[in-house]
C-alpha cells in the first residue's frame, strides 16, 4: 500500500525527475568522480605507458617527507595567514569609516573604490601590481620623487625579501573591500534609533562605535574567519600570476606545487596525495576554528 503510494507520487513528479537528470549526471561526472579518482590515484604510481600500479601509502610518505612540500606548506601559512589578518583589519577599518561618512557621494565613491579590486581577476590585479612594482613603475616613481638624483630603481618583484609582503599586501588590497561589504551588511541592519538613544544618554560617537557597531559585526567576523580559514591553504590564482623564478622559494604554495607536480610534471600520484591531504587538513582546521569561535551558535 505504502509502496503503491510512493510509486504514484514518483509518477506524479516524473517530469521533475527527468529535468533533474542533467544536474545529477553533472555532479556525478564532474564532482564525485574526480574526487574518487583523485583518492584512488593517490595510492597509485601512475605510468605514462601501461597500467598504474598500487603502491599503498608511498605517495603520502613522499609528500610528508618531501622538503618542497614542507616549504610550500610554510609559504601557504605565512602568505595565507598574513593576508587574512591584514585584510580583516583593513576591511574592518573600511566598514567603520564608511559608516561615519555622511555625504552620500563621498560614501558611495569610497565604497566603490574599495570594492572594485575584489571584482577583478587575479590576472588583472597581478598584472597591475607587477607593472607598478617594476623598475619603471609607480612605486619607483614615488621613491624617485623623494630621493632625487641619487635614486636607483628597485625591481621589487625580483627580490626575495619583499616577496611575501607583496603577496600579503596585494591579497589584502584585492580583498579588503569584500570583507568591508560583509561587515557593512550587518552594520546597515542596526536600528538608527539605537545610536540616537545612546547619544541622548550622553555616549560619544566613538563609544557608540565601540558598544553598538562593533558588537553587531562580531558574528560576521566569525563567518569571515571561518570562510578565510578554508581558503588559506587554497590560494592558486595569485601565485600562478605573480610568482617568478627568483621569488618562488618564498611564495610557492601548496596548491601551486600540486598543480606543478600533477599537471606540468605528471607526478599524478604524488600530487593527488598532496591534494587529498590539503582537503583533509582544510576540513579539520575548519572544524577546529568553528569550535573555537562557537561558530555553530550563530545561526541557531
Amino acid at each position: 500500500m505504502k509502496n503503491k503510494n510512493l510509486w504514484k507520487k514518483v509518477k506524479r513528479f516524473r517530469s521533475i525527475y527527468i529535468l533533474l537528470i542533467p544536474v545529477i549526471a553533472y555532479f556525478v561526472v564532474f564532482s564525485y568522480y574526480p574526487l574518487i579518482l583523485g583518492i584512488v590515484k593517490s595510492f597509485q604510481k601512475v605510468k605514462l605507458l601501461g597500467n598504474s600500479e598500487f603502491v599503498g601509502i608511498d605517495n603520502y610518505v613522499t609528500v610528508f617527507t618531501g622538503s618542497q612540500y614542507h616549504q610550500a606548506f610554510v609559504n601557504s601559512l605565512i602568505v595565507g595567514g598574513g593576508t587574512f589578518i591584514f585584510q580583516f583589519f583593513w576591511g574592518l577599518i573600511i566598514a567603520l569609516v564608511l559608516n561615519e561618512i555622511r555625504n552620500k557621494i563621498a560614501r558611495s565613491s569610497f565604497q566603490t573604490v574599495t570594492f572594485i579590486p575584489y571584482l577583478l581577476s587575479w590576472s588583472v590585479v597581478g598584472g597591475l601590481w607587477i607593472t607598478i612594482l617594476s623598475p619603471t613603475g609607480m612605486i619607483n616613481g614615488f621613491l624617485q620623487l623623494f630621493q632625487g638624483s641619487s635614486f636607483t630603481p628597485a625591481a621589487f618583484m625580483a627580490e626575495e625579501k619583499y616577496a611575501r609582503f607583496i603577496m600579503i599586501f596585494t591579497g589584502a588590497w584585492k580583498g579588503a573591500g569584500y570583507f568591508a561589504a560583509l561587515f557593512m551588511a550587518s552594520i546597515v541592519s542596526i536600528d538608527t534609533s539605537l545610536y540616537e538613544a545612546a547619544r541622548i544618554d550622553g555616549a560619544t560617537r566613538i563609544q557608540q562605535i565601540r558598544y553598538i557597531t562593533i558588537p553587531v559585526i562580531v558574528p560576521t567576523m566569525k563567518v569571515v574567519a571561518v570562510l578565510s580559514v578554508m581558503g588559506i591553504l587554497r590560494n592558486f590564482d595569485q601565485i600562478f600570476v605573480m610568482m617568478n623564478a627568483t621569488i618562488s622559494d618564498k611564495v610557492k604554495n601548496l596548491l601551486y606545487l600540486i598543480y606543478e607536480q600533477g599537471i606540468l610534471k605528471f607526478n599524478v600520484g604524488e600530487a593527488t596525495a598532496a591534494a587529498t591531504l590539503v582537503l583533509v587538513a582544510t576540513l579539520l582546521i575548519t572544524q577546529v576554528v568553528r569550535k573555537l569561535l562557537h561558530y555553530d551558535q550563530i545561526y541557531e
Binding site: 533533474l20 555532479f27 597591475l128 560617537r205
Partner: protein, 288 residues
C-alpha cells in the same frame, strides 16, 4: 536641523584618525587603478620610461592598437564573452530548476537529492584539479569550447541560492495556480520564476563575474592559443615581459590596455547590478 545631525559625529582626535584612515585607504585603492588608466592611454615611449605617471604626458591609444594588432586580444575577448555568457545562462537555468525541485515538500527522495547536491559544495574544485584534467582528457574536452563551458556548469552554491529565494514564495500562490489547473512546470514558470527574478539576477551576476575571472580551469584545460580566455591571455602577456627568451615583449601601455579591456565588463556589471552583487556576496557568506 543640520546641527542635530552633526552632533552625533566623531570629534577631536578620533575624527582626525578616521579621516586619515579614509584618505590613506582611498589613495592606496585608487592610485593603482588611476595609474592603469593613465599608462594604458599613454604612448609606448612614455609608458616605458621611469618616473611617476599619474598624468598624461601625451594621450595615445598605441597600447590599444598593440593589443589588437600584435597580441590579437579580440579573439580571447570574444572567447571569454562566449564561454562566460553561455555557461552562466545555463547555470542559472539549471540552478533554478534544481532549486525548485528542492522545495517540493512532497517529492519522494527530496532529502537524499538535497544532501547529494549539498555534499558537492564540500568538494573544492581546486583540489580535484588533477583528476578534473584527466577526466577532461578522457572525455576529449581539452582545448574545446565545450570543455570550457561544461566545467563548472552547475554549482551547489547557486542551487542553494535559488532554493532560498523560492522558499520565500508564499505557498498560497502556488495553491491558487494549482486550483486553476496549472501543472508543475506551469507553476514553476508562471509563479516562481517571475517572483524570484532578483534571485535569478543575483545568481547570474555572481556567476558571471566568477566565470569571467576564472584562471585555473581555462589555464589547465586549454593550451591552444586560439581558445585562450582573457585572463589566460593577460597572464601570458605578463609572463612574456619577464622572460628573457627574446619572445615578443608587450610594452607597459599594452598590458594596461589589456587590463582595461578585461575590466570593462566587470565595471558595467558593478554599475548596473551592484545591488544584486552585494546581496549575493552577503548571502553567500551567511549560507556558508
Amino acid at each position: 536641523m543640520k546641527r542635530s545631525k552633526l552632533s552625533n559625529n566623531l570629534r577631536g582626535g578620533w575624527a582626525v584618525l578616521f579621516v586619515v584612515l579614509a584618505v590613506i585607504t582611498a589613495v592606496i585603492m585608487f592610485l593603482p587603478m588611476w595609474n592603469v588608466i593613465v599608462v594604458g592611454t599613454s604612448s609606448t615611449l612614455d609608458s616605458g620610461s621611469s618616473g611617476l605617471k599619474l598624468w598624461w604626458h601625451e594621450f595615445s591609444l598605441e597600447g590599444f592598437e598593440y593589443v589588437f594588432e600584435v597580441t590579437k586580444l579580440a579573439r580571447p575577448f570574444l572567447n571569454s564573452l562566449f564561454v562566460t555568457t553561455v555557461g552562466t545562462v545555463i547555470q542559472v537555468f539549471l540552478a533554478a530548476l534544481a532549486g525548485y525541485v528542492l522545495i517540493q515538500k512532497e517529492l519522494p527522495f527530496r532529502n537524499a537529492i538535497s544532501s547529494f547536491i549539498m555534499l558537492t559544495m564540500m568538494i573544492p574544485g581546486d583540489l580535484t584539479l588533477i583528476s578534473v584534467y584527466q577526466l577532461n582528457k578522457q572525455l576529449n574536452l581539452l582545448n574545446s569550447y565545450t570543455g570550457l563551458i561544461l566545467n563548472g556548469l552547475i554549482s551547489g552554491f547557486s542551487i542553494m541560492m535559488m532554493r532560498n529565494y523560492f522558499q520565500t514564495v508564499p505557498y498560497t500562490l502556488e495553491e491558487a495556480a494549482r486550483i486553476d489547473g496549472s501543472g508543475e512546470m506551469g507553476i514553476f514558470v508562471k509563479i516562481y520564476m517571475p517572483i524570484s527574478l532578483p534571485g535569478l539576477a543575483t545568481v547570474f551576476f555572481m556567476e558571471y563575474v566568477a566565470r569571467w575571472n576564472s584562471i585555473m580551469l581555462p589555464a589547465t584545460l586549454v593550451t591552444d592559443e586560439s581558445l585562450y580566455t582573457l585572463p589566460v591571455m593577460l597572464k601570458a602577456m605578463i609572463m612574456s615581459t619577464e622572460s628573457t627568451s627574446g619572445a615578443q615583449v608587450a610594452p607597459n601601455n599594452a598590458i594596461m590596455a589589456a587590463i582595461i579591456i578585461t575590466t570593462i565588463p566587470l565595471l558595467l556589471i558593478y554599475i548596473f547590478a551592484q545591488k544584486f552583487l552585494l546581496n549575493g556576496i552577503s548571502m553567500g557568506a551567511v549560507k556558508e
